[in-house]
C-alpha cells in the first residue's frame, strides 16, 4: 500500500514534467553531428604504423583527434571562444601534442591516445611569435616558445620552465622565428624591416647568449612569410621585387651578408603580383632540415629545388600544380603534388624528395565537387608498405571547408563538411509528395480541369486511382522481396529520389546557410546531407537572410527559396534563388540591386505561379518587388495602401514606419526616436508569420474569459543603457505597433544589463537579462490582454484598436546562464508552449511556459487552483529530465530553430552551434499518437475475444430461450 502511495505521489509530481526520453528512445528520432571548424593545423600520428590518429586544431578554438580511417572524432576539446582560446601553434612528438593557446598565454601538452591533459604551464605575458621543438643528440627534450620580447624553454615531459631570457633590442627588432638543428643551440631570428636581420644564438642548457649578429637585408619586410631554413642551418629567403633567392649560413662567422641568387639563373620567374612561398621540411626536430624545398612561383606553379654546396639546383618543375606538401615516414621523405587533370579532377602524385623522381603507381585521382570550392590545403600521411615502398593517403581541404580523405587510387575514405560548424541561419521545408501523390493532387488543382467536363474527369480520376493501385502493389512486392533477403543487405540509403513526405510530415528538408557561403540541404530524419552548394565570392562579413517564397504545396511548380546575401559594410545585396529540395539554382531572372538594402518584407500576396512576393527596400526607400510580373504589380497597386513596413536605425535610435504607394515608392508615416545618449536599440523582433494561436483568451477561475491582445504587427524592441554602471544600467523593453508606431507598452528593467535574449510570440514576450545588482540571470515575462471583452472579435486592425492592452509582468531567477532562447511551434497552436533554452553547458532545456506566467499568484486561492496556476516562486526550477538532448550536448549552441510538424503534438527542433542536434519535442506529450509500446496484440485479442464471446453467448441465449419455451 505504501509502495502504491509513493508511486502515486511520484507520478503526480511528474504530471507536469514527464518529458524526458526513455532509454530505448535514444537516437530514435534525434541525431547529433559534431564539427570542429576550419582546420588550421593538422598532423598525422606517424609514431607507429598502425596509428589512426589525426590531430587537428581549428579556427573555432577546437583541438581534436580524428580517426583517419572513418573520419569520426576520437576526442575533442572545445576551448573558450575569441582570442582567449585561440590556438597559436600545434607541435607533435611521439605520443605528446604540445599546444600554445591564447596568444601565448598557456602551454599545454596533451596525451594523444585518450586526449588527456598531461601538463599545463602559464606563460609570461607577451604576444606569441613562434614555437618549436628543440632536440639534443637525436632526442627531442624541450619546447621553445618565442614571444615578442622573450624566449622560454620548457621541458617536454613535465612542462617546467628550464629558462626564460629577454631578447636583446626587442623594441626595435621583430623576432619572428626559432630554429634548432639539434646541435645544442637555439637560434632566434628577428628582422628590422627594410634594414637587417638579427640572429641570436642561445645555449640550450642555461640560455646563455653564445653569439649575436646582424646581417644586411634592406629588401626584407617579414622573415616569417619569405624565409625558410634548409639543409644544415641555411637561411633561405625569396624576394619578388629583386626576383632572387638569398642564402645565409646561420652559424658561420665569416659570411656577413646574404648571397643573392637571381631566379633568372635558374630559368625561373615569379608571376607579378604573387608573393612566392618557400616550403621546407624538418622531419626530426633534433636534426637539421632537408636540403630540398619547394618554391611556389604562381598559384599553380611549384618547383622542387635542392640546396647543395652553396648552390641551388632544380630537381623537378611542377607546372601546373595547385598544391605541394612534404611527408616523412621513417627515414624517407616524399613530396605529394596535386596537379590538375581535367576540369573536374585533379591527380595527386608522390615524388621522392631527394631526387624528384616519381614513385610508380602512386596516383590518386581527386574529383572536385562541381558544387564545392577549390582545394586549398593538402595534408599527406605517408607510411611504409610491407615491401618497403612508400604508400600514402591525403587529406584535402577546400575553400568551402570540406575535408576529404583519399587513398589510392582515388577512393574517398571519408568526408567532413566543416562549414556546418558555423551555421548562420536555417529553414525547414516540407518534402514534396511522391510522383503518384502529386499526380492525384494535381488532377484537381489545374485550371484546365474545370473546362474538361464530367466524363474526362471521371476517366482521369480512374486512371490516377489505377496508378495509385499500381504503386501500392509495387510497394507490397518490394516489401515481400526485401523480407526474403537477409536483413543486413537491406540498406536504408537516403537519396533525393526516394525522399517524399511521410504520413505526419515529420521528415523535412533542413536548409542550412553557413558563414562560409555554403548551403546545405539535410534530411531532418537521418542528418544525411542531400545536397550542397558553395556560393563563391561571399565576403566574410556577409549577412544572410533565407526566405521561403513557395513551399512544396503548389505542384507542379517547384518549391522556391531565396537567399539574400548582404555585405555588412556596403549594405549591397544580391539574391540567390534555388530549389530547396534539390539545391539547384533557379533559372528565374533576379532583379539587380544597385543600392544598399535596408529591409525585406515577405508578403502574403502571391503571383500566378504561387510564389509569395518579396519586397526589398533600399536606402532611398524605393521598393523592388520580386517576382515583379505584371500580375504582381497589379496586386501591389490594389493593396498598396495596406502594406506597411518599418525600419530600424540603431545608430540614431530611430524607428520609422512607411507605407507603400501605388507607384512602389513609399511615404514616411510615423517616427519614434530613442535618444542614443541614454540607450541604444539592441534588437527588434516581430512575431513569426507561421504562428497560429488557437485560443483567443484564457478561462479564468470564475468562468469569465480574459482575452489575449493578439496584435500580429507588434514589435518588441529591446534597448540597453549606454551607462554601464551597475547601479544605473538598465534594460528597456518597448512594444511598438509596427503599423501605427504606437507605443503599446514601455518598461524599464533597472539594474540590469545584457546580453538580452528574448522570444516574442502570441501575446507574450519573455526576455532574459543579467541582474547586475544580484549578479544573476533573470527571466521576465510580459503578457498582454485586451480585458474581459474584445474590442472587435472578428478581425484585428492596428488602425482600429483604441484601447491600450492590460500588461502583466513577472520576473523569476534563472539559476544558469543561457546562450539562446526559442519557443516551440506547432501546427495549430493547440499544444501548450514550451521555451527551449540553450545553455552554455550544451544542454537544451525545455521549460514549460506554465512556469512563466505573470498570473502566478502569491497566495493560492480557490480561483487560481481552478485555473491551474502554479503559486509564485521566485526561482525557476531546472530539472534534469527537461533536458531534451540528454547527454548529447550541443557545443556553443548559438541558435535553436523550431518548426511545426503534421502532428499537432510534435514540434521539430534543431539546435545549432559548433554541433547540430535535431530532435522532436512534445510539449503536451503525445496526445495524438499511440505509444511505441502500445499492445496491439492484446487489444485485438480482447476485441476478438469479446466478439466471439457475444456470438457464443447469443447462441446459448437462443438455445436457452428455446428450451424455456418448450418447457
Amino acid at each position: 500500500m505504501a509502495w502504491l502511495v509513493v508511486r502515486l505521489a511520484i507520478s503526480m509530481s511528474l504530471l507536469y514534467t514527464a518529458s524526458a526520453v526513455f532509454e530505448d528512445q535514444v537516437g530514435k528520432f534525434d541525431w547529433r553531428q559534431q564539427f570542429i571548424g576550419k582546420v588550421r593545423f593538422a598532423l598525422f600520428d606517424t609514431h607507429s604504423q598502425a596509428s589512426k590518429k589525426l590531430l587537428l586544431a581549428t579556427d573555432k578554438n577546437v583541438f581534436a583527434s580524428l580517426n583517419s580511417r572513418t573520419g569520426d572524432l576520437f576526442w575533442r576539446h572545445v576551448d573558450k571562444t575569441g582570442p582567449e582560446g585561440h590556438i597559436d601553434a600545434l607541435l607533435m612528438y611521439g605520443q605528446d601534442a604540445v599546444v600554445v593557446v591564447g596568444n601565448g598565454r598557456l602551454l599545454r601538452s596533451w596525451e594523444t591516445t585518450v586526449g588527456g591533459l598531461k601538463w599545463e604551464t602559464v606563460l609570461d605575458t607577451g604576444s606569441f611569435q613562434a614555437a618549436a621543438l628543440v632536440g639534443v643528440q637525436d632526442f627531442v627534450k624541450y619546447v621553445a616558445v618565442l614571444k615578442k620580447s622573450a624566449i622560454s624553454l620548457h621541458d617536454l615531459s613535465s612542462g617546467s620552465e628550464i629558462w626564460v631570457e629577454n631578447l636583446p633590442d626587442s623594441d626595435s627588432v621583430q623576432y619572428q622565428t626559432i630554429y634548432s638543428g639539434g646541435n645544442g643551440l637555439v637560434l632566434v631570428l628577428g628582422v628590422v624591416p627594410n634594414s637587417h636581420i638579427v640572429i641570436v644564438e642561445y645555449k640550450i642548457e642555461d640560455g646563455e647568449i653564445m653569439n649575436k649578429k646582424s646581417v644586411e637585408a634592406a629588401w626584407m619586410s617579414s622573415l616569417e612569410s619569405s624565409c625558410a631554413v634548409v639543409s644544415s642551418g641555411i637561411l633561405l629567403c625569396v624576394d619578388q621585387i629583386t626576383q632572387s633567392l638569398y642564402t645565409l649560413p646561420l652559424q658561420s662567422a665569416e659570411q656577413t651578408e646574404m648571397r643573392q641568387i637571381h631566379l633568372q639563373t635558374l630559368d625561373l620567374e615569379v608571376v607579378s603580383g604573387f608573393r612566392p612561398v618557400l616550403t621546407s621540411t624538418q622531419p626530426n626536430p633534433a636534426q637539421p632540415p632537408l636540403s630540398e624545398f619547394f618554391l611556389q612561383l604562381s598559384p599553380d606553379h611549384h618547383i622542387l629545388l635542392q640546396f647543395k654546396d652553396g648552390l641551388i639546383a632544380p630537381l623537378r618543375d611542377f607546372n601546373p600544380a595547385y598544391l605541394a606538401a612534404f611527408a616523412t615516414s621513417g627515414e624517407r621523405t616524399v613530396a605529394a603534388v596535386m596537379s590538375p587533370k581535367n576540369d573536374t579532377a585533379c591527380s595527386i602524385n608522390l615524388f621522392s624528395a631527394d631526387t624528384g623522381r616519381r614513385h610508380l603507381d602512386t596516383t590518386i585521382i581527386y574529383h572536385m565537387d562541381p558544387n564545392g570550392g577549390k582545394p586549398n590545403r593538402l595534408y599527406v600521411h605517408a607510411f611504409l608498405k610491407k615491401d618497403d615502398s612508400v604508400g600514402y593517403r591525403v587529406m584535402v581541404q577546400t575553400e568551402d571547408l570540406a575535408l576529404t580523405f583519399l587513398q589510392q587510387p582515388g577512393r574517398v575514405v571519408w568526408m567532413r563538411e566543416e562549414a556546418l560548424a558555423d551555421v548562420v541561419t536555417m529553414e525547414m521545408v516540407d518534402l514534396p509528395f511522391t510522383g503518384t501523390q502529386a499526380e492525384l493532387e494535381g488532377e484537381f488543382g489545374k485550371k484546365a480541369a474545370i473546362q474538361d467536363g464530367l466524363l474526362p474527369m471521371v476517366l482521369k480520376r480512374l486512371s490516377s486511382q489505377f496508378i495509385l493501385l499500381q504503386a501500392w502493389l509495387a510497394h507490397l512486392w518490394k516489401l515481400f522481396y526485401d523480407a526474403r533477403k537477409p536483413r543486413s543487405s537491406v540498406k536504408n540509403e537516403v537519396t533525393i529520389d526516394v525522399l517524399s513526405r511521410d504520413e505526419f510530415n515529420l521528415q523535412k528538408m533542413m536548409l542550412m546557410v553557413t558563414a562560409s557561403g555554403k548551403l546545405f540541404g539535410i534530411d531532418s530524419k537521418s542528418g544525411t546531407i542531400l545536397w550542397k552548394q558553395y556560393l563563391e565570392n561571399i565576403q566574410p562579413n556577409s549577412v544572410f537572410k533565407l526566405i521561403v517564397q513557395r513551399t512544396t504545396a503548389h505542384f507542379p511548380h517547384p518549391p522556391q527559396c531565396t537567399l539574400l546575401i548582404k555585405n555588412k559594410d556596403t549594405g549591397l545585396g544580391s539574391l540567390y534563388v534555388f530549389n530547396p529540395i534539390f539545391g539547384k539554382k533557379s533559372q528565374i531572372s533576379v532583379p539587380a540591386l544597385p543600392r544598399p538594402i535596408l529591409q525585406t518584407l515577405l508578403l502574403p500576396v502571391i503571383d500566378q505561379d504561387y510564389a509569395k512576393v518579396l519586397l526589398l527596400i533600399d536606402d532611398q526607400y524605393k521598393v523592388t518587388a520580386f517576382p515583379s510580373t505584371k500580375n504582381v504589380l497589379q496586386q501591389l497597386q490594389d493593396t498598396a495602401s495596406s502594406i506597411f513596413f518599418y525600419l530600424v536605425d540603431s545608430s540614431q535610435g530611430k524607428l520609422s514606419g512607411f507605407r507603400l504607394r501605388k507607384d512602389l515608392s513609399t511615404e514616411l508615416i510615423w517616427e519614434v526616436v530613442i535618444p542614443t545618449e541614454v540607450q541604444k536599440i539592441v534588437a527588434v523582433k516581430g512575431k513569426r508569420a507561421n504562428e497560429h494561436v488557437h485560443s483567443q483568451g484564457r478561462v479564468m477561475g470564475d468562468r469569465s474569459v480574459l482575452y489575449k491582445y493578439l496584435n500580429p504587427n507588434l514589435l518588441a524592441v529591446i534597448t540597453e543603457s549606454t551607462d554601464t554602471h551597475q547601479e544605473r544600467s538598465f534594460v528597456g523593453i518597448i512594444l511598438i505597433d509596427g503599423v501605427t508606431g504606437r507605443i503599446v507598452h514601455e518598461a524599464v528593467q533597472r539594474k540590469a544589463r545584457g546580453p538580452v535574449h528574448f522570444v516574442h510570440s502570441e501575446n507574450w514576450v519573455v526576455y532574459v537579462y543579467w541582474n547586475s545588482k544580484f549578479r544573476r540571470n533573470e527571466f521576465s515575462v510580459l503578457e498582454l490582454f485586451e480585458g474581459a471583452e474584445l474590442y472587435n472579435s472578428t478581425v484585428f486592425s492596428s488602425l482600429d484598436r483604441p484601447h491600450p492592452p492590460q500588461v502583466l509582468q513577472q520576473s523569476y531567477i534563472f539559476p544558469a546562464p543561457i546562450n539562446t532562447l526559442e519557443a516551440t511551434l506547432t501546427e495549430k497552436g493547440i499544444t501548450s508552449r514550451h521555451l527551449l533554452v540553450g545553455l552554455p553547458s550544451g544542454n537544451i532545456l525545455s521549460l514549460p511556459k506554465l512556469f512563466l506566467d505573470p498570473r502566478r499568484p502569491e497566495m493560492v486561492s480557490e480561483q487560481s487552483r481552478e485555473e491551474n496556476l502554479i503559486p509564485y516562486a521566485p526561482e525557476m526550477p531546472i530539472r534534469e529530465e527537461w533536458f531534451i538532448n540528454y547527454n548529447q550536448t550541443v557545443s556553443r549552441v548559438r541558435g535553436i530553430y523550431t518548426a511545426p510538424s503534421g502532428l499537432e503534438s510534435t514540434c521539430l527542433v534543431v539546435a545549432y552551434g559548433l554541433d547540430i542536434y535535431q530532435s522532436r519535442v512534445f510539449p503536451s506529450k503525445q496526445f495524438d499518437v499511440l505509444k511505441d509500446d502500445y499492445d496491439y496484440i492484446l487489444i485485438s485479442s480482447v476485441l476478438f475475444g469479446l466478439f466471439f464471446a457475444t456470438m457464443i453467448s447469443k447462441r446459448l441465449a437462443e438455445v436457452k430461450l428455446l428450451n424455456r419455451a418448450w418447457r
Binding site: M1, A2, V5, S641, E667, L668, I669, W670, E671, V672, V673, I674, P675, V678, Q679, R728, F730, G732, I733, I734, I736, T740, G741, R742, I743, H745, E746, A747, V748, Q749, R750, N771, E778, S780, N792, L799, D800, R801, P802, Q809, Q810, S811, Y812, I813, E858, M859, Y872, A873, P874, E875
Partner: protein
C-alpha cells in the same frame, strides 16, 4: 469676415486634460530639489502640428500648443484652436479618399533644466486615418511617451471610436472643436523576482505547521484509523470473493446441466 476671425480667436478653446504624469525617481537624478525651487514658472510649451492633405503630401500646420508644467504638480495641457471652415472641408475631403491625418511634435526633453542644455532636432510623427477622426467627431487621445530621462521618444494618436464605417457627419457642430485627451506616459519599472515576500510566506507556513503539530503528522499517522479497517475489509472481501467465486462457478456449472 475679420469680425468672425476675431470671434473665433476669442472663442479658441482650451481643451485640456491632465493625466498620470508618472515621474520616476531616476528621471530626476537628484534634481528634484532644484525643480522644487522654480515652481510655477518653469513650464514651457511645444507646438503640436498637424497635416491632412488630399494629395497626401504632408504640410504641417499648427494645431495647438502643448504646455508642460514643471514643478510639483507636473502635467501637460493642450491649448488648441478650432478648425476653420476650410480645414473642415479639407478634412472631410481627405476622409473621403481615406487619407491620413498626421500629427507631429518636436523632439524635446521634459526635464525642464535640460531644455537649455540641448535642443535635439527632428520630429516625432504619427498618424490616424482621417475618416476615423471625422467619424469620432474629433475626439482623440494623444499620448506622449518618454524614456527614463524624460525625453519624448514617441507620440501616438487614437480616436474613440477608432473605426471607419462611412457614417455621414453633420458639419459645423461636430467638426469644430477637438475633444482631446492628452497624457504623458513614462516607462514603468519592470518587477524583479520577489524573494522577500516568498520567504516570508514560507516562514509563515512553517510557523503555522509548527503551531499546529497535528498537521506535521504524515498521511498515515493521521488517517491510520481509516486506512487499516479499509485494508482489512478489502483483504477479507478479496478472500471471500475468491472462495465465493469458486462456489458460484460450481453452482453455475451445476445449473447448466
Amino acid at each position: 469676415m475679420a469680425m468672425i476671425r476675431v470671434l473665433s480667436l476669442v472663442l479658441s478653446v482650451l481643451s485640456s486634460v491632465t493625466l498620470l504624469w508618472t515621474q520616476s525617481g531616476e528621471c530626476n537624478n537628484g534634481r528634484r530639489s532644484a525643480d522644487a525651487v522654480d515652481t510655477d514658472f518653469s513650464g514651457f510649451s511645444v507646438p503640436l502640428e498637424h497635416s491632412f492633405e488630399v494629395d497626401d503630401v504632408p504640410r504641417f500646420r499648427l494645431r495647438g500648443a502643448l504646455q508642460f508644467r514643471g514643478g510639483r504638480e507636473q502635467g501637460v495641457y493642450l491649448s488648441q484652436n478650432q478648425l476653420s471652415e476650410k480645414d473642415r472641408n479639407t478634412l472631410k475631403d481627405v476622409a473621403a479618399v481615406d487619407g491620413l491625418y498626421r500629427i507631429r511634435v518636436p523632439r524635446v526633453s521634459l526635464q525642464v533644466d535640460r531644455q537649455t542644455e540641448k535642443q535635439s532636432e527632428g520630429y516625432l510623427t504619427t498618424f490616424v486615418r482621417a475618416c476615423s477622426l471625422v467619424e469620432s467627431h474629433l475626439s482623440d487621445v494623444i499620448t506622449l511617451h518618454t524614456d527614463v530621462s524624460g525625453c519624448v521618444v514617441g507620440i501616438s494618436i487614437v480616436t474613440i471610436p477608432g473605426s471607419c464605417r462611412g457614417i455621414e457627419v453633420e458639419d459645423e457642430v461636430d467638426l469644430e472643436v477637438f475633444n482631446t485627451t492628452i497624457s504623458v506616459v513614462a516607462p514603468v519599472t519592470a518587477p524583479v523576482p520577489e524573494t522577500a515576500p516568498y520567504i516570508e510566506r514560507m516562514e509563515q507556513e512553517m510557523e503555522k505547521k509548527g503551531k499546529n503539530p497535528q498537521e506535521q503528522k504524515s498521511f498515515f499517522a493521521k488517517y491510520w484509523m481509516y486506512i487499516v479497517p479499509l485494508v482489512l475489509f478489502l483483504m477479507m472481501s478479496g478472500a471471500q470473493d475468491q472462495s465465493g467465486g469458486g462456489a458460484g462457478g460450481g453452482a453455475a456449472n451445476g445449473g447448466g446441466r
